[in-house]
Protein backbone atom coordinates (compact mmCIF):
# COMPACT_ATOMS: atom_id res chain seq x y z
CA UNK A 1 0.00 0.00 0.00
CA UNK A 2 1.27 3.36 -0.95
CA UNK A 3 -0.07 6.74 -0.05
CA UNK A 4 0.85 10.20 -1.09
CA UNK A 5 3.80 11.40 0.81
CA UNK A 6 4.21 15.11 0.78
CA UNK A 7 6.56 16.19 -1.95
CA UNK A 8 9.52 18.30 -1.07
CA UNK A 9 9.72 21.84 -2.37
CA UNK A 10 12.45 20.94 -4.84
CA UNK A 11 10.34 18.09 -6.22
CA UNK A 12 7.49 20.47 -6.88
CA UNK A 13 9.97 22.77 -8.59
CA UNK A 14 11.10 19.90 -10.79
CA UNK A 15 7.50 19.13 -11.78
CA UNK A 16 6.92 22.79 -12.49
CA UNK A 17 9.92 22.77 -14.77
CA UNK A 18 8.62 19.64 -16.48
CA UNK A 19 5.39 21.54 -17.14
CA UNK A 20 7.35 24.55 -18.29
CA UNK A 21 9.34 22.64 -20.87
CA UNK A 22 6.43 20.57 -22.15
CA UNK A 23 3.98 23.45 -22.36
CA UNK A 24 6.67 25.73 -23.76
CA UNK A 25 7.08 23.44 -26.75
CA UNK A 26 3.33 23.18 -27.13
CA UNK A 27 3.01 26.97 -26.99
CA UNK A 28 5.64 27.28 -29.72
CA UNK A 29 3.74 24.75 -31.82
CA UNK A 30 0.52 26.70 -31.32
CA UNK A 31 2.25 29.94 -32.13
CA UNK A 32 3.54 28.42 -35.37
CA UNK A 33 0.10 27.12 -36.27
CA UNK A 34 -1.50 30.49 -35.69
CA UNK A 35 1.45 32.51 -36.89
CA UNK A 36 0.88 34.72 -33.86
CA UNK A 37 2.57 35.05 -30.50
CA UNK A 38 1.21 32.81 -27.77
CA UNK A 39 1.89 33.53 -24.13
CA UNK A 40 1.75 31.02 -21.38
CA UNK A 41 1.54 31.41 -17.65
CA UNK A 42 4.02 29.75 -15.33
CA UNK A 43 2.75 26.20 -14.82
CA UNK A 44 1.21 25.36 -11.51
CA UNK A 45 1.73 22.08 -9.77
CA UNK A 46 -1.08 21.26 -7.46
CA UNK A 47 -2.14 18.50 -5.17
CA UNK A 48 -5.85 19.15 -4.86
CA UNK A 49 -8.99 17.32 -3.86
CA UNK A 50 -10.86 15.94 -6.89
CA UNK A 51 -13.40 18.74 -6.79
CA UNK A 52 -10.63 21.28 -7.12
CA UNK A 53 -9.57 20.21 -10.61
CA UNK A 54 -12.86 21.09 -12.26
CA UNK A 55 -13.12 24.19 -10.06
CA UNK A 56 -10.04 25.47 -11.83
CA UNK A 57 -11.89 25.53 -15.16
CA UNK A 58 -15.00 27.21 -13.78
CA UNK A 59 -16.81 24.43 -11.99
CA UNK A 60 -18.00 20.88 -12.62
CA UNK A 61 -20.91 22.00 -14.80
CA UNK A 62 -18.99 24.43 -16.99
CA UNK A 63 -19.19 23.30 -20.60
CA UNK A 64 -15.76 22.87 -22.14
CA UNK A 65 -14.18 21.43 -25.24
CA UNK A 66 -11.60 18.85 -24.24
CA UNK A 67 -9.09 16.83 -26.17
CA UNK A 68 -8.02 13.86 -24.12
CA UNK A 69 -5.26 11.40 -24.64
CA UNK A 70 -3.74 8.72 -22.56
CA UNK A 71 0.01 8.75 -22.12
CA UNK A 72 1.50 5.29 -22.40
CA UNK A 73 5.02 4.10 -21.72
CA UNK A 74 7.22 4.33 -18.65
CA UNK A 75 5.27 7.14 -17.03
CA UNK A 76 1.62 6.54 -17.83
CA UNK A 77 -0.87 9.28 -17.20
CA UNK A 78 -3.65 11.37 -18.66
CA UNK A 79 -3.50 14.55 -20.60
CA UNK A 80 -6.19 17.10 -21.39
CA UNK A 81 -6.18 20.18 -23.58
CA UNK A 82 -9.18 22.23 -22.48
CA UNK A 83 -10.82 25.20 -24.15
CA UNK A 84 -13.99 27.15 -23.58
CA UNK A 85 -16.41 26.98 -26.50
CA UNK A 86 -15.58 30.61 -27.18
CA UNK A 87 -11.85 29.90 -27.28
CA UNK A 88 -12.34 26.89 -29.50
CA UNK A 89 -14.22 29.05 -31.99
CA UNK A 90 -11.49 31.68 -31.74
CA UNK A 91 -8.86 29.06 -32.44
CA UNK A 92 -10.69 27.84 -35.55
CA UNK A 93 -11.17 31.40 -36.73
CA UNK A 94 -7.52 32.21 -36.23
CA UNK A 95 -6.30 29.05 -37.77
CA UNK A 96 -8.55 28.70 -40.77
CA UNK A 97 -9.56 32.32 -41.08
CA UNK A 98 -13.17 31.28 -41.16
CA UNK A 99 -16.17 32.01 -39.06
CA UNK A 100 -17.52 28.88 -37.48
CA UNK A 101 -20.64 27.69 -39.22
CA UNK A 102 -22.91 26.94 -36.33
CA UNK A 103 -24.03 29.38 -33.67
CA UNK A 104 -24.02 26.65 -31.06
CA UNK A 105 -21.60 23.78 -31.14
CA UNK A 106 -19.41 22.69 -34.02
CA UNK A 107 -19.60 20.85 -37.30
CA UNK A 108 -17.86 17.50 -37.63
CA UNK A 109 -15.16 19.12 -39.71
CA UNK A 110 -14.53 21.75 -37.05
CA UNK A 111 -14.40 19.14 -34.31
CA UNK A 112 -11.96 17.14 -36.35
CA UNK A 113 -9.77 20.23 -36.80
CA UNK A 114 -9.84 20.90 -33.04
CA UNK A 115 -8.95 17.29 -32.35
CA UNK A 116 -5.97 17.58 -34.65
CA UNK A 117 -4.81 20.82 -33.02
CA UNK A 118 -5.01 19.12 -29.62
CA UNK A 119 -3.09 16.19 -31.03
CA UNK A 120 -0.29 18.40 -32.36
CA UNK A 121 0.03 20.37 -29.12
CA UNK A 122 -0.10 17.37 -26.83
CA UNK A 123 2.36 15.56 -29.06
CA UNK A 124 4.88 18.38 -28.85
CA UNK A 125 4.37 18.63 -25.07
CA UNK A 126 5.07 14.94 -24.66
CA UNK A 127 7.91 14.55 -27.11
CA UNK A 128 9.82 17.35 -25.41
CA UNK A 129 9.37 15.60 -22.08
CA UNK A 130 10.46 12.29 -23.57
CA UNK A 131 13.61 13.99 -24.92
CA UNK A 132 14.34 15.58 -21.57
CA UNK A 133 13.83 12.49 -19.44
CA UNK A 134 14.92 9.86 -21.97
CA UNK A 135 11.79 8.04 -20.95
CA UNK A 136 9.45 6.37 -23.36
CA UNK A 137 6.20 8.35 -23.47
CA UNK A 138 3.72 7.71 -26.24
CA UNK A 139 0.37 9.39 -26.70
CA UNK A 140 -2.68 7.40 -27.74
CA UNK A 141 -4.92 8.65 -30.52
CA UNK A 142 -6.75 11.64 -29.04
CA UNK A 143 -10.46 11.83 -28.40
CA UNK A 144 -12.57 14.93 -28.22
CA UNK A 145 -15.54 15.69 -26.03
CA UNK A 146 -17.61 18.78 -25.48
CA UNK A 147 -19.36 18.44 -22.18
CA UNK A 148 -19.33 19.31 -18.48
CA UNK A 149 -15.83 19.81 -17.11
CA UNK A 150 -16.50 17.59 -14.12
CA UNK A 151 -17.61 14.68 -16.29
CA UNK A 152 -14.56 15.04 -18.52
CA UNK A 153 -11.85 15.63 -15.96
CA UNK A 154 -13.08 12.94 -13.58
CA UNK A 155 -12.03 10.49 -16.26
CA UNK A 156 -8.43 11.49 -15.67
CA UNK A 157 -8.68 10.88 -11.95
CA UNK A 158 -9.65 7.22 -11.91
CA UNK A 159 -6.12 6.00 -11.30
CA UNK A 160 -5.75 8.48 -8.45
CA UNK A 161 -9.07 7.33 -7.03
CA UNK A 162 -7.50 4.07 -5.97
CA UNK A 163 -5.05 5.87 -3.72
CA UNK A 164 -6.88 8.75 -2.18
CA UNK A 165 -9.06 11.73 -2.80
CA UNK A 166 -6.41 13.98 -4.24
CA UNK A 167 -4.62 14.22 -7.53
CA UNK A 168 -1.34 15.84 -8.39
CA UNK A 169 -1.46 17.64 -11.68
CA UNK A 170 0.42 20.16 -13.75
CA UNK A 171 -1.74 22.97 -15.07
CA UNK A 172 -0.58 25.43 -17.72
CA UNK A 173 -2.62 28.25 -19.17
CA UNK A 174 -2.15 29.53 -22.72
CA UNK A 175 -3.15 32.95 -23.90
CA UNK A 176 -3.21 34.54 -27.29
CA UNK A 177 -3.87 37.98 -25.88
CA UNK A 178 -5.58 40.15 -28.45
CA UNK A 179 -7.54 37.29 -29.98
CA UNK A 180 -8.49 35.93 -26.62
CA UNK A 181 -7.75 32.34 -27.35
CA UNK A 182 -7.25 30.70 -24.05
CA UNK A 183 -6.52 27.07 -23.34
CA UNK A 184 -5.20 24.90 -20.58
CA UNK A 185 -3.12 21.80 -20.44
CA UNK A 186 -3.60 19.34 -17.65
CA UNK A 187 -1.02 16.63 -17.25
CA UNK A 188 -2.15 14.15 -14.63
CA UNK A 189 0.50 11.46 -14.28
CA UNK A 190 -0.65 8.21 -12.67
CA UNK A 191 0.41 7.99 -9.02
CA UNK A 192 3.17 5.47 -9.73
CA UNK A 193 4.69 7.61 -12.46
CA UNK A 194 6.11 10.26 -10.16
CA UNK A 195 8.93 8.11 -8.79
CA UNK A 196 9.94 7.11 -12.31
CA UNK A 197 9.86 10.73 -13.43
CA UNK A 198 11.91 11.91 -10.46
CA UNK A 199 14.56 9.27 -10.82
CA UNK A 200 14.86 9.90 -14.57
CA UNK A 201 15.48 13.54 -13.74
CA UNK A 202 18.00 12.67 -11.06
CA UNK A 203 15.96 13.76 -8.07
CA UNK A 204 15.21 10.92 -5.75
CA UNK A 205 13.17 11.40 -2.62
Amino acid sequence: MKEWKPLAEFQLDVLKEVGNIGAGHAATALSNLLDKPVDMLVPQVRLVPFEGISESVGGAEEVVVAIYLRVEGETPGNMFFILSEESAKGLLRNLAGMETEKEDGFTDMELSALNEIGNILAGSYLSSLADLTKLNMAPTVPALAMDMAGAILSYGLLQHGQMGDHALFIDTKFLNGEEEVEGRFFLIPDPDSFDVLFSALGVTS
Binding site: M148, A149, A151, S154, Y155
Partner: protein, 165 residues
Amino acid sequence: MMKSSNLIKVGMADLQVAAQPDVLKSAGLGSCVGVTLFDPESRVGGMAHIMLPSSDIAREGQLNLAKYADTAIPELIRLMVSRGASVKRLESKMAGGSQMFAFSTGSDSMRIGPRNAESCKTMLSKYAIPLMAEDTGGNHGRTIEFDCSTGVLSVRSVQKGSKEL
Protein backbone atom coordinates in the same frame (compact mmCIF):
# COMPACT_ATOMS: atom_id res chain seq x y z
CA MET B 1 -44.38 27.91 8.42
CA MET B 2 -42.87 25.99 5.52
CA LYS B 3 -39.24 25.18 6.00
CA SER B 4 -37.26 26.29 2.96
CA SER B 5 -35.16 23.63 1.31
CA ASN B 6 -31.40 23.48 1.38
CA LEU B 7 -29.36 22.40 -1.58
CA ILE B 8 -26.80 19.89 -0.36
CA LYS B 9 -23.85 19.32 -2.61
CA VAL B 10 -22.49 15.81 -3.04
CA GLY B 11 -18.92 16.02 -4.34
CA MET B 12 -16.99 13.41 -6.25
CA ALA B 13 -16.40 10.31 -4.07
CA ASP B 14 -18.77 11.73 -1.47
CA LEU B 15 -22.12 10.74 0.01
CA GLN B 16 -24.76 12.71 1.86
CA VAL B 17 -28.03 11.99 3.61
CA ALA B 18 -30.84 14.52 3.90
CA ALA B 19 -34.57 14.71 4.59
CA GLN B 20 -37.58 16.60 3.30
CA PRO B 21 -37.52 19.40 2.14
CA ASP B 22 -33.83 19.32 1.22
CA VAL B 23 -32.42 18.68 -2.24
CA LEU B 24 -29.27 16.65 -2.93
CA LYS B 25 -27.15 17.59 -5.92
CA SER B 26 -24.19 16.08 -7.76
CA ALA B 27 -22.68 18.03 -10.67
CA GLY B 28 -20.78 16.78 -13.68
CA LEU B 29 -21.11 13.02 -13.44
CA GLY B 30 -19.22 11.30 -16.24
CA SER B 31 -18.21 7.71 -15.72
CA CYS B 32 -19.16 8.19 -12.06
CA VAL B 33 -22.60 7.02 -10.99
CA GLY B 34 -24.96 9.00 -8.80
CA VAL B 35 -27.09 6.60 -6.77
CA THR B 36 -30.03 7.81 -4.72
CA LEU B 37 -31.91 5.95 -2.03
CA PHE B 38 -35.25 7.15 -0.74
CA ASP B 39 -37.68 6.16 1.94
CA PRO B 40 -41.02 7.57 0.75
CA GLU B 41 -42.55 7.35 4.21
CA SER B 42 -39.96 9.13 6.33
CA ARG B 43 -38.84 11.19 3.30
CA VAL B 44 -35.22 10.55 4.10
CA GLY B 45 -33.03 10.53 1.01
CA GLY B 46 -29.41 9.79 0.31
CA MET B 47 -27.05 10.26 -2.59
CA ALA B 48 -23.64 8.79 -3.32
CA HIS B 49 -21.29 9.96 -6.09
CA ILE B 50 -19.54 6.69 -6.87
CA MET B 51 -16.30 6.69 -8.78
CA LEU B 52 -15.12 3.07 -8.95
CA PRO B 53 -16.91 -0.29 -8.97
CA SER B 54 -15.06 -2.16 -6.26
CA SER B 55 -12.93 -1.41 -3.21
CA ASP B 56 -10.82 -4.50 -4.00
CA ILE B 57 -8.53 -2.34 -6.08
CA ALA B 58 -8.18 0.34 -3.38
CA ARG B 59 -4.64 1.13 -2.39
CA GLU B 60 -5.43 4.07 -0.15
CA GLY B 61 -4.63 4.00 3.56
CA GLN B 62 -7.88 5.26 4.98
CA LEU B 63 -10.64 3.86 2.79
CA ASN B 64 -13.14 6.44 1.57
CA LEU B 65 -16.33 4.38 1.66
CA ALA B 66 -18.20 6.81 -0.58
CA LYS B 67 -15.93 6.18 -3.53
CA TYR B 68 -16.68 2.53 -4.31
CA ALA B 69 -20.02 0.96 -5.23
CA ASP B 70 -19.54 -1.98 -2.88
CA THR B 71 -18.85 0.20 0.15
CA ALA B 72 -20.89 3.35 -0.59
CA ILE B 73 -24.29 1.67 -0.79
CA PRO B 74 -24.03 -0.15 2.59
CA GLU B 75 -22.73 3.06 4.17
CA LEU B 76 -25.57 5.10 2.67
CA ILE B 77 -28.10 2.58 4.00
CA ARG B 78 -26.51 2.70 7.46
CA LEU B 79 -26.64 6.49 7.63
CA MET B 80 -30.21 6.64 6.35
CA VAL B 81 -31.40 4.10 8.89
CA SER B 82 -29.82 6.22 11.61
CA ARG B 83 -31.92 9.12 10.30
CA GLY B 84 -35.11 7.10 10.58
CA ALA B 85 -35.37 5.36 7.20
CA SER B 86 -36.39 1.72 6.93
CA VAL B 87 -34.34 -0.60 4.73
CA LYS B 88 -37.50 -2.42 3.69
CA ARG B 89 -39.03 0.75 2.27
CA LEU B 90 -35.97 2.00 0.39
CA GLU B 91 -36.19 2.67 -3.32
CA SER B 92 -33.34 3.55 -5.62
CA LYS B 93 -32.67 5.60 -8.72
CA MET B 94 -29.40 6.15 -10.53
CA ALA B 95 -27.79 8.16 -13.28
CA GLY B 96 -24.34 8.46 -14.83
CA GLY B 97 -21.94 5.70 -15.78
CA SER B 98 -21.20 6.96 -19.25
CA GLN B 99 -18.14 6.45 -21.40
CA MET B 100 -16.92 9.96 -22.01
CA PHE B 101 -14.33 8.93 -24.56
CA ALA B 102 -14.48 6.08 -27.03
CA PHE B 103 -11.27 4.23 -27.75
CA SER B 104 -10.52 1.19 -29.76
CA THR B 105 -7.63 0.24 -27.46
CA GLY B 106 -10.27 -0.76 -24.90
CA SER B 107 -8.32 -1.21 -21.68
CA ASP B 108 -10.43 -2.01 -18.65
CA SER B 109 -10.50 1.49 -17.25
CA MET B 110 -12.19 2.64 -20.45
CA ARG B 111 -15.29 0.68 -19.54
CA ILE B 112 -15.39 2.06 -16.01
CA GLY B 113 -18.76 3.81 -16.40
CA PRO B 114 -20.82 0.74 -17.33
CA ARG B 115 -18.95 -1.27 -14.71
CA ASN B 116 -19.84 1.28 -12.03
CA ALA B 117 -23.51 1.00 -12.93
CA GLU B 118 -23.42 -2.80 -12.94
CA SER B 119 -21.72 -2.91 -9.59
CA CYS B 120 -24.31 -0.55 -8.06
CA LYS B 121 -27.11 -2.80 -9.31
CA THR B 122 -25.45 -5.85 -7.80
CA MET B 123 -25.27 -4.11 -4.43
CA LEU B 124 -28.88 -2.94 -4.60
CA SER B 125 -30.14 -6.43 -5.34
CA LYS B 126 -28.11 -7.72 -2.41
CA TYR B 127 -30.20 -5.52 -0.14
CA ALA B 128 -33.36 -6.23 -2.16
CA ILE B 129 -33.76 -2.53 -2.92
CA PRO B 130 -35.80 -1.97 -6.10
CA LEU B 131 -34.31 0.19 -8.83
CA MET B 132 -37.21 2.45 -9.80
CA ALA B 133 -35.55 4.30 -12.67
CA GLU B 134 -32.16 4.87 -14.24
CA ASP B 135 -30.50 7.04 -16.83
CA THR B 136 -27.13 5.44 -17.35
CA GLY B 137 -24.68 4.86 -20.17
CA GLY B 138 -24.12 6.92 -23.28
CA ASN B 139 -21.18 9.25 -23.71
CA HIS B 140 -22.33 12.44 -22.03
CA GLY B 141 -22.06 14.11 -18.65
CA ARG B 142 -24.95 14.61 -16.27
CA THR B 143 -25.89 16.78 -13.33
CA ILE B 144 -28.47 15.33 -10.97
CA GLU B 145 -30.73 16.72 -8.27
CA PHE B 146 -32.79 14.64 -5.92
CA ASP B 147 -35.76 16.19 -4.17
CA CYS B 148 -36.35 14.54 -0.79
CA SER B 149 -39.90 15.90 -0.66
CA THR B 150 -41.04 14.15 -3.81
CA GLY B 151 -38.46 11.48 -4.55
CA VAL B 152 -37.99 12.93 -8.04
CA LEU B 153 -34.54 12.69 -9.56
CA SER B 154 -33.89 15.36 -12.20
CA VAL B 155 -31.15 14.71 -14.70
CA ARG B 156 -29.64 17.46 -16.81
CA SER B 157 -27.14 17.04 -19.60
CA VAL B 158 -25.56 19.33 -22.15
CA GLN B 159 -26.37 17.17 -25.14
CA LYS B 160 -29.65 15.54 -24.16
CA GLY B 161 -31.44 18.24 -22.18
CA SER B 162 -33.32 17.58 -18.95
CA LYS B 163 -35.55 14.81 -17.73
CA GLU B 164 -37.17 13.69 -14.53
CA LEU B 165 -36.99 10.18 -13.18
